[in-house]
Point group: C2
Chain length 356, copies 2
């Protein structure tokens, strides 16, 4: 079969890691029976500076109408708010209804502190609706307000996704794939002790969605944890966590925190997943400090390509990529500087391609 | 002089650590010239269950009219929203206009990874205004909204406080007190790449307040960092941070994360500071799992008492407490279970009192 993948490098090191992702897909063994085709697409701050638009309509159209999946690199954020500029990845998530942001964080097999968790982040609402206004009150002066929005529908949907992922991981375990967990557990993150209505609704809806689906999730335990305590426990006992489900903003913060535990953001992939479409996206940003030097870690993008394939039901191709990346990490010889090595993006990529 | 301290143990281990705080204050050497008097005050979930009110009006009145400072323990949060219950500490912060939550996180002198930072958390607004509503729309179903509010006034005020604290720390360094930092730096945390108006306003206001006060802060550098990246860097390079200033919710999450880096929430104090009043409060919660066993770590409360005294201009008394606590930690013989020891609250307290 033929799969057309949209490539949106964005800014900074996005322009170095997305080409690596493309080369990886091209190098997959033909025995898998997949032929990849690619379409280059624009988005980002550079695009905004050139064209006045951060996310061109064509990018959205081509993704919707011509592509089977996509890889997104990273975008720079201006340090001061720029009129008319707004993050294209946040917009893409909403326009394509990619309602789940799935972020697996896993240590290498040899790690002193084993970690194997997935953060399932709601990807369309919370403060990311970006309904903001600025007001000037004669008495209290200038102030701004933003709306945090939590709906039953989006919360149930993300709860379901967390349950499905927990169950899928449990099946892998039962089929003999080694794991640090004995059983499946979904932990819901919230701050319902302060936000009893919004975060309370998130918590109840996730609970409800998982108990409705109990017949498929009967082996999935359900816990909940307040977000501040979660940040603490994530550092203290990360091996405790299997699947973490969180509203958009907590998911954003917690996934960066979790990435720190496995050594580098350069290792952590994500997939923006909807019912129709998936965009793979490394968790790291555009890293202006190292952009253009050819030393960005390509692994987060390679793993994001694998994640994208998983959600396109190409599990075999995904498994090949994961195995090749893990082999590179276990050997720990060719590593980019973020992991303490001296290899270039190109050298790490070639080492991984060799292992496919 | 006579200082009257309100004691609000709250729930759970709050009832074990606040009495320890009282004994500490009573044990301070009389050469300091301070006589402490105490008033016991109620608040918390137990109080709510008894009286129907989580924060009795009398508690607020007595604090306002009779006390010079206070110590607050911790409160339990019901696991499901309970009608009419709302966190008394959040209410107290607003009612007494304790606009800054100051949370120093410091490793012991002998730590492999030295950390010495202070989180200065805005304490009155952001999502903590708790303006929430739940709606039911025929098309989209049930959803809830909460307001995140950021004002210039509150942001400038917290920026000023951060600058004053940074400068105070710098003066201590210059007077020869050993420090892991060479110079003072305030890092502003925000998510202005998504929340350009609210977090943008926070960032700009803090910048403005620090540059207005440039004549007193000329040795204080100013940086800013996006909150997700902050969670990452806090784990990777915690020694980089001196003073961190954050809106309410990010400050809540980041201070628990930072506490994980020094080994236990049981070590981390805070002070809720206003222009007129300070409430010392350990960062840990009511810890129902260990409540009643006499093994809660009293150190977070003892340090909170010291912090309270600092903000009451009783620096000498505060320094005595810090030195006694540090001596206990450096010796590392009598430690509660959270630090891997087997000592009780009582034993740790007595050891520290002995060292005053
Ligand atoms: C760039 C930014 C808008 C984005 C987010 O906050 O979602 C990023 O941090 C991420 O996690 O993908
Ligand atoms: C108990 C809770 C309302 C409180 C908060 O969120 O401020 C606590 O986490 C804290 O940090 O003091």
């Amino acid at each position: 079969r033929v799969l057309r993948i949209g490539l949106i490098p964005g800014d900074g090191i996005g322009r170095e890691v997305i080409p690596a992702g493309r080369r990886l897909l091209e190098a997959l063994p033909s025995s898998l029976g997949i032929k990849f085709e690619f379409t280059d697409l624009k988005a980002g701050f550079e695009t905004f500076k050139e064209t006045g638009v951060a996310l061109p309509a064509r990018t959205v159209d081509v993704l919707k109408n011509e592509c089977d999946g996509a890889l997104f690199g990273a975008v720079s954020s201006p340090t001061k708010a720029v009129d008319g500029y707004s993050s294209p990845i946040v917009a893409l998530r909403k326009k394509l209804d990619l309602y789940a942001n799935v972020r697996p964080v896993k240590s290498v097999a040899s790690a002193a502190r084993p970690i194997d968790l997935v953060i399932v982040r709601e990807n369309t609402e919370d403060l990311y609706v970006k309904w903001e206004k600025t007001l000037d009150d004669p008495e209290i002066g200038v102030y701004a307000e933003a709306i945090k929005r939590i709906s039953v529908r989006a919360s149930m949907r993300i709860g379901e996704m967390a349950g499905i992922i927990a169950q899928r991981r449990q099946k892998l375990r039962e089929s003999g794939v080694p794991s640090i967990h004995n059983s499946a557990c979904v932990t819901v993150t919230h701050k319902s002790n302060v936000l009893s209505q919004t975060d309370g609704l998130f918590l109840e809806s996730v609970r409800e969605s998982l108990s409705r689906a109990r017949y498929i999730h009967d082996k999935v335990a359900l816990k909940d944890q307040i977000v501040d305590s979660m940040a603490y426990k994530l550092f203290r006992e990360p091996e405790q966590y299997d699947v973490i489900v969180a509203p958009n903003l907590y998911g954003d913060i917690l996934s960066d925190a979790a990435a720190a535990l496995v050594g580098s953001l350069g290792l952590v992939p994500s997939a923006n997943v909807g019912d129709q479409f998936t965009i793979g996206e490394p968790c790291h940003g555009s890293a202006p400090d190292i952009a253009g030097q050819g030393i960005a870690n390509p692994i987060a993008t390679l793993r994001s390509a694998a994640l994208m394939l998983e959600f396109m039901n190409e599990g075999e191709a995904a498994a090949k990529i994961h195995a090749a990346v893990d082999a590179n990490l276990v050997e720990a010889k060719l590593m980019t500087p973020d992991l303490g090595g001296q290899a270039t993006t190109e050298e790490v990529l070639n080492d991984i391609l060799k292992r496919l």
